[in-house]
């Protein structure tokens, strides 16, 4: 079984500042790791994923994440946020061949002018 912990439920930040949203996971097997974004009244949209290989992965909208196996973490970062990045962000893990994903509780990113 897998579990996901998003360490911050809310992250307020000023426009053009850098941001990091933290995600730790627990699993007895290797997993695929994902970040999704959910804008108000919309479905979840895939931001980026880590399957294997390079531990730094880049996604859409200028986001990137780094996989750290020893710390079982997959933190999401953006060097300079925009007002339009205000949304809910979900970290998720999937065991290969398993199909279903386990999601964290989500982090609400609020970008202020």
């Amino acid at each position: 079984a897998q579990s996901v912990t998003q360490l911050d439920s809310q992250v307020p930040v000023f426009e053009e500042a850098p941001v990091e949203l933290r995600c730790n996971y627990s699993s007895s097997v290797s997993v695929y790791l994902f970040w999704y974004v959910q804008y108000p009244n919309q479905g979840l949209q895939l931001l980026l994923k880590y399957l294997s290989g390079s531990t730094l992965v880049k996604g859409i909208n200028g986001f990137e994440a780094e996989f750290n196996k020893s710390q079982t973490s997959f933190h999401l970062r953006k060097p300079s946020v925009h007002i339009s990045d205000t949304a809910e962000y979900f970290c998720a893990v999937t065991a290969p061949q398993a199909g279903k994903s386990t999601f964290g509780d989500g982090t609400t990113l609020t970008v202020k002018p």
Binding site: Y32, Y36, G43, L46, G99, D105
Partner: protein
């Protein structure tokens, strides 16, 4: 870009009534899923469907729930006798394989009164 389409966007039903939530996954995807998100809570897995049968289901997916792919395009979730606690946002998702992550629909907000 291909989309997962869900209808209706909002459904209000009386307790004890049957509801059918409809989804049109992306046409070349092979795996189909239903997730739900109770207001303010995490995204929870309900069921996965592959090759015209359920591949995995959660404890939430009891005898009151069923899924069907009645033709080559639609994927439905039926709740036979709704309860107040079934009120949630229900998301349909699909993918070609687990490593691709999900493409989610915009969701159906189910309100049981």
């Amino acid at each position: 870009e291909p989309e997962v389409t869900q209808t209706p966007s909002h459904q209000v039903t009386q307790m004890g009534q049957e509801v059918i939530l409809r989804c049109v996954p992306i046409s070349n995807h092979l795996y189909f899923y239903w997730y739900r998100q109770i207001l303010g809570q995490k995204v929870e897995f309900l069921v996965s469907f592959y090759n015209n049968e359920i591949s995995e289901k959660s404890e939430i997916f009891d005898d009151q729930f069923s899924v069907e792919r009645p033709d080559g395009s639609n994927f439905t979730l039926k709740i036979r006798s709704t309860k107040l606690e079934d009120s949630a946002m229900y998301f349909c998702a699909s993918n070609q394989d687990q490593e691709y992550g999900y493409t989610f629909g915009s969701g159906t907000r189910l309100t049981v009164v």
